[in-house]
Amino acid sequence: MSVPRYWRNQVPRYRLLGDKCKACGARYFPAQPVCTCGGTAFEDYKLAQTGEVVTWTVIRSPPVGYERYVPYVVALIELDDGMRLLSQVVDVDPADVKAGLMVEAVFRKVREDGASGIIQYGYKFRPVVE
């Protein structure tokens, strides 16, 4: 994994930071260079940290780099601010995941570049702990 590639996505991943078009207010996560309205001026937008599961799957046949974690749940999550994103759902038995499960963002390891490469972190979601 390219270090610069990982590094430039750190802050958006660590803080769930997207952006918002100054012209029309459309929000994006991840940020993108040009808005659908044509605008190119954006401001930071911090996503809500809690939401619910819309739909999900259990990955049993992983891509390269994720073998150590199978089986794991990946879900389409709708956050409390209406933004949606894809993320793993952890700290839960796959059998207990269902649509509407309330979840909150957590900071977790995503993968490692072998024993000598960098450790890649990012956001995942877990059932809300009260």
Partner: protein, 345 residues
């Protein structure tokens, strides 16, 4: 030790992962019958000291109700850094939004690395150098298979944000003290996977000597006695030691009970007494005095006196230590090995 301007805790957070390995399961594996704790916490596949530290830090920032960009220091104390060289503190600082105007470093002093970080943060804030400084003690402790410490080497941590004492702080620091000698009771060489220890040597010449030394030093300096405290938190490597040292120093079970979580989660090493402090703050009322003494092998102890304030009751929302303690799933020994990365893949 006292600061020029008084320092308080403006926010705190604590965490243990949800998986548990019971002493019973360890005994099943090795045909033994020990029970220094009931069970210990085990990280999920995707957790490490950095993720635990970030979890604690985020809770602390939320409770503190401060702008994280104003945090001027993030110090992480641990003996299980994911990188041998690359600070955990920078990842935590970046994750919570404290960068770039921040000082960070990782501390190592076995189980008292977290309280070392606390001493430093108290100094930074007390001197006026920083408005907010965060100290974290967290570990994913390595337990040697079939060793006595396998029952207890656990995962968890706590974070404390220090600020000048004000109406916003939940507790203030009355005084602190450090007592350190070179005592090799427990160590790990750089390329080794597991630490080694001196077995019974870790008791009297190590744990007890330094905790008692720091405790008596602080009590003498401040003129307090054990009965002046509502609560006491001691480093908790197992259930027996903190109860014994409490008794030696004149503290009773009611005082140490809220902070004594080791039976349920094991020894979270650099998180050990910090987690105990957090658990105590979770239930304390305002105007109560808390005595805390950590212990780190090598060896040394940091002792603190905190007094709670009115803000405590309304600034400890969100999940408490008890929520994380109760959120649990027991795993078998094989799953434990998998989670600890001890299966060669």
């Amino acid at each position: 030790m006292k600061t020029l301007r008084q320092v308080g805790i403006v926010g705190y957070g604590a965490y243990v992962p949800m998986y548990r390995l019971s002493a019973e399961e360890v005994n099943r594996m090795w045909g033994t019958s020990g029970a220094p704790v009931e069970e210990k916490s085990v990280v999920a596949l995707d957790e490490d000291t950095v993720t635990i530290s970030v979890e604690c830090a985020k809770q602390a920032v939320k409770r503190a109700r401060i702008n994280p960009s104003e945090i001027g220091a993030v110090y992480v104390g641990t003996e299980s850094k994911p990188y041998a060289v690359k600070p955990s503190g920078t990842i935590v600082a970046e994750a919570i939004g404290a960068t770039p105007s921040v000082s960070t470093a990782d501390y190592e002093f076995a189980c008292k690395a977290g309280t070392e970080a606390m001493q430093t943060c108290i100094g930074l804030v007390g001197s006026g150098m920083q408005k907010y400084a965060m100290a974290i003690g967290a570990d994913t402790a390595q337990g040697r298979p079939a060793d006595a410490l396998e029952y207890t080497a656990a995962c968890g941590g706590a974070a404390f944000i220090f600020a000048e004492r004000s109406a916003e702080t939940v507790a203030y620091v009355e005084a602190s003290y450090s007592y350190v000698t070179d005592t090799p009771d427990f160590w790990r060489r750089a390329k080794e996977m597991y630490p080694r220890h001196g077995n019974r040597f870790t008791g009297e010449p190590a744990y007890f000597k330094h905790i008692v030394g720091a405790a008596r030093g602080l009590l003498q300096e401040t003129g307090y006695k054990a009965e002046d405290f509502k609560y006491a938190v001691f480093h908790q490597p197992n259930t027996k030691f903190p109860i014994t040292v409490a008794r030696t120093l004149g503290f009773n079970m009611d005082q140490i009970d809220p902070g004594l979580v080791v039976g349920k989660v094991g020894n979270t090493y650099a998180g050990s007494s910090p987690v105990g402090l957090a658990a105590t703050l979770d239930v304390a009322e305002p105007d109560e005095r808390i005595f805390m003494v950590s212990y780190g092998s090598g060896s040394g102890s940091d002792a603190f006196i905190f007094t709670t304030q009115d803000a405590l009751k309304e600034k400890r929302g969100g999940p408490k230590m008890s929520s994380f303690i109760e959120r649990k799933r027991n795993v078998d020994y094989a799953t434990y090995l998998r989670h600890r990365g001890q299966i060669i893949q």
